[in-house]
Symmetry: C2
Subunit: 301 residues, 2 copies
């Protein structure tokens, strides 16, 4: 196969776009897809101060690198979960990536916040993943607001978004459906949230990361069974193979036509939030979930 653009040998086949590219033209394609997503959904501008959550995985690092190269004002945020072995390696990857690419980095150590994940795990009777996710999202939001960033970015790709959308549709979860998308506007107590890689699949992001030589941290979390939504990703891989381009069409169709009805509905029936009486960040309870976890951990000492 030859590169569609320059006729050099292609190294990345893209059936979803009915094309294939050499490394340089694939870089151009990838970058333009990101730019197109940023502009079409009005995610942010060059005036914004963007905080990007960096786990150390390929998606978040790829997202940070492409935004940096496009001249956006990007700062990294790494949450050090204090999980033995795992967290140290992830943090090291993020630190050297940021230093090599001239990206300022903020690190929040959960051990210092009274929320080291091994301690949280001891206090829970249920799997740790949802509590860990809650803690990370809380510190993403808190750091963005505390440090006056105008946008909080994450490295979610099209496959992540499709798996989540499909899961929300299977349950017809109107609340989540009304919020899902590459842009969640700022709201009282919540930073503006964006997902600049929403047009790019996992395959495309992995290829780009590899071709850019990004050294990323890949080790499944010792506490989890691996990524969620795995069976939906398999199902969507089959649907995509049957009709290339269907994933992107499903997601863009949702943004164009499917989402608005749920936003209207949620405006009528949605939950109301108020500041947590302990930390001041928004919650639907009196004390927010993270403060309750922190209290539970403190009690065990």
């Amino acid at each position: 196969m030859k590169c569609k653009r320059c006729k050099a040998p292609a190294v990345v086949a893209l059936p979803s776009h009915n094309t294939g590219f050499c490394p340089d033209c694939f870089d151009l394609f990838f970058t333009r897809q990101v730019e197109r997503g940023i502009h079409s959904e009005k995610l942010f501008t060059h005036e914004d101060r963007i905080l990007i959550a960096l786990s150390g995985g390929k998606d978040s690092l790829a997202c940070a690198l492409v935004l940096k190269r496009l001249g956006y004002n990007v700062t990294g945020l790494h949450i050090d979960l204090s999980i033995p072995n795992s967290s140290q390696a992830a943090r090291g990857t993020v630190e050297s990536f940021c230093s090599e690419n001239g990206i300022p980095l903020i690190v929040k150590e959960m051990a210092q916040e009274g929320l080291a994940i091994p301690d949280v795990k001891k206090r829970l009777n249920r799997p740790i993943c949802s509590a860990c996710g809650k803690i990370k999202r809380y510190y993403f939001n808190k750091t963005a607001l505390d440090e006056n960033f105008t946008v909080l970015a994450t490295g979610h790709n099209l496959d992540d978004e499709i798996a989540r959308l499909f899961s929300n549709v299977l349950r017809w979860d109107v609340g989540y459906l009304s919020d899902q998308g590459p842009l969640l506007e700022a709201d009282s107590g919540f930073a503006r949230k964006v997902k600049p890689l929403f047009r790019l699949s996992e395959y495309e992001t992995a290829n780009w990361s590899y071709l850019q030589g990004i050294p990323y941290h890949y080790a499944p979390c010792p506490y989890s069974q691996g990524a969620s939504f795995t069976s939906y990703k398999k199902l969507w891989a089959d649907l995509e193979e049957e009709m290339p381009g269907r994933k992107l069409a499903f997601y863009l169709g949702f943004l164009e036509r499917g989402k608005a009805p749920f936003v209207r509905q949620e405006a009528v029936t949605g939950d109301t939030l108020a500041p947590c009486t302990s930390c001041g960040y928004p919650t639907s309870a009196e004390v927010c979930g993270v403060c309750r976890i922190r209290d539970a951990v403190a009690q065990q000492d």
Copy 2:
């Protein structure tokens, strides 16, 4: 396996309900599922005059038989498409079924309406299926209205509904999503439409038909590649196997939470219909699709 209800040997396993039944108890289960659907969605009452579309396949005959046994006022409607070999056998099955079960039958012959399907097929450059479907739905509706029936029933089962719903969701077709469900209220020029088997899967309906000894017509239409939505049915079979009961939960969740937002949206943006200037039945064009097909067939003579 033993019957969950009477402990006799079970012949029908129902993982989606975490149970299994002997023939008599399965009949009770099937009948109660139909009743539950009729009542929960307020499809019709014993005062209604119900016209049921009978193709000769197992679903429509099962639907007619269960409604008849439940004491509803049911009349069959068969559309004779005049397809060589195929139509004659289907019509024979329906006629003997209705006569054996004391169900009055109306037969509409498309040849007499200037719409014999082989003639229509000659005039079309595209596959016949969508035109044939349009013609059948037109005569279902027209006959129900002309003959003063209060309800038009079809034998669509849960798998049909799931495949259609899934297809509409994949395309985020707001118009179809706002209309989909086991009940479509009467509207100017449109009969009230119901699908009493919406809680029952194809497997359950096939088993019931077999156990009741319904002799149905099964021969793929010589003009079509077989049922539509086949790949979605396979996909949903996998999802159901992974989590029994998911199909019904997805469909009922749509009815409870997913549909209302689309109905609201469609009320704002939907198409307007007006009577066809030729036949008087509603259409979004000046002359309806069926009248245009009839004219095209007449011109070739």
